[in-house]
């Protein structure tokens, strides 16, 4: 994946339906954890009602829209003001009825909601990868992206760990630890494999590095859990 490619993700975030909440959370997950170096976003209402500067966003970035329902507010709005989108995802179609137990508010979130968010975010990340692979170096650069990107799309800070004596920064590692803690992962030596399996979704780990990463992640997770 080109490190300079920036794909814009515009989520509908519809307030009336659980699918709107899922579109928002899945988009955030891709921005923060899954493809932080290759994605930016902008608030849909700001984009739709904004001025030319805001609408430049989708003209300069290959854009993925994530709509909660078949009203397709994000897709239609983006295409109206900025031209065709590179990919248009619809949460209700991705989940295909598996969203009936999902909630609109975070306070009511269950395992069903989390799984739905994971499923949709995987699809968004896949679409990002396809666009990046297709666009390569012809995409806008980081410098260009900064001129139009919403400042709020800055990825979450990474956490540094020591792997075989070297300092390595892993984007969103704190959030990964939080998520695994919520799922009940014990802060002991038995957690190594699960930590490795989860972190490598977001951070490249070569096969020959696995043992070092397993040790480093286990140690970091234990320390993190002691502090939180």
């Amino acid at each position: 994946m080109s490190s300079t490619t920036k794909v814009g993700i515009i989520s509908c975030s519809g307030e009336e339906l659980p699918e709107g909440t899922i579109s928002r959370l899945a988009t955030r997950r891709v921005l923060e954890l899954m493809r932080p170096g290759n994605t930016v976003t902008i608030c849909l209402p700001l984009f739709l009602a904004g001025n030319e500067a805001e609408r430049e966003f989708a003209r300069k970035h290959p854009t993925i829209t994530v709509d909660g329902c078949n009203k397709l507010c994000a897709k239609k709005g983006t295409e109206k003001y900025s031209g065709p989108v590179s990919a248009a995802l619809v949460v209700s179609e991705i989940l295909n009825g598996k969203c009936s137990c999902c909630a609109v508010s975070a306070k009511d979130r269950s395992e069903d909601d989390k799984e739905a968010v994971w499923l949709v975010s995987e699809q968004i990340a896949k679409a990002v990868d396809e666009i990046v692979a297709g666009e390569g170096e012809t995409c806008c650069s980081d410098e260009e992206a900064d001129t139009v990107a919403c400042g709020c799309s800055t990825p979450v800070p990474g956490m540094q760990i020591q792997v075989a004596g070297k300092s390595v920064t892993i984007p969103g590692l704190g959030l990964i630890f939080d998520h695994l803690a919520e799922t009940g992962l014990a802060a002991d030596d038995s957690s190594g494999e699960k930590l490795l399996e989860t972190v490598r979704i977001y951070h490249p780990i070569e096969p020959e590095q696995e043992d070092d990463y397993r040790t480093a992640l286990t140690s970091a997770y234990k320390a993190y859990r002691r502090q939180t």
Binding site: E16, P45, G151, V156, L175
Partner: protein
């Protein structure tokens, strides 16, 4: 949903800004207010995209908008589509009473973020009960 003192329904419209914690606070405040009988919800993106049914709904109602940032997407878009804004809440203003609080992120609210959301929801429901 209960009509307000003017016989009109109340619709609560948060900005739901995706990039900042204030957007999530606005969104959760709207859910909390609606759950306590403070009004109906309406997707802001649907309204901004010009959906006829959404536009018709806000023209027959009084709207309470909750904006996370000074761009004021919610209040501006309700007014631009012919709606009446009975009350405009800006999260930034509410936060003046919570300086230094750890609110959470645009993805997940911390305890202080939830407290601010509930404070806004109570304000909305208090306002509602006064006009009934």
């Amino acid at each position: 949903m209960i009509p307000n003192g003017n016989g009109k329904k109340t619709i609560v419209i948060p900005c739901s800004g995706i990039g900042k914690v204030q957007g999530l606070i606005a969104r959760e405040a709207a859910y909390a207010a609606a759950a306590a009988g403070g009004g109906e919800l309406l997707c802001l993106a649907l309204l901004v995209s010009g959906d006829e049914e959404a536009v018709s709904r806000i023209r027959d109602a009084e709207c309470i908008t909750i904006d996370g940032c000074p761009k004021l997407c919610a209040v501006k878009n309700v007014e631009a589509t012919g709606g009446t804004v009975a009350k405009s809440i800006q999260v930034i203003d509410v936060l003046k009473n919570h300086r230094g609080a750890e609110l959470g992120t645009a993805t997940k609210l911390a305890d202080a973020g939830w407290a601010v959301a509930h404070e806004i929801a109570q304000d909305i429901n208090h306002c509602e009960s006064e006009v009934k």
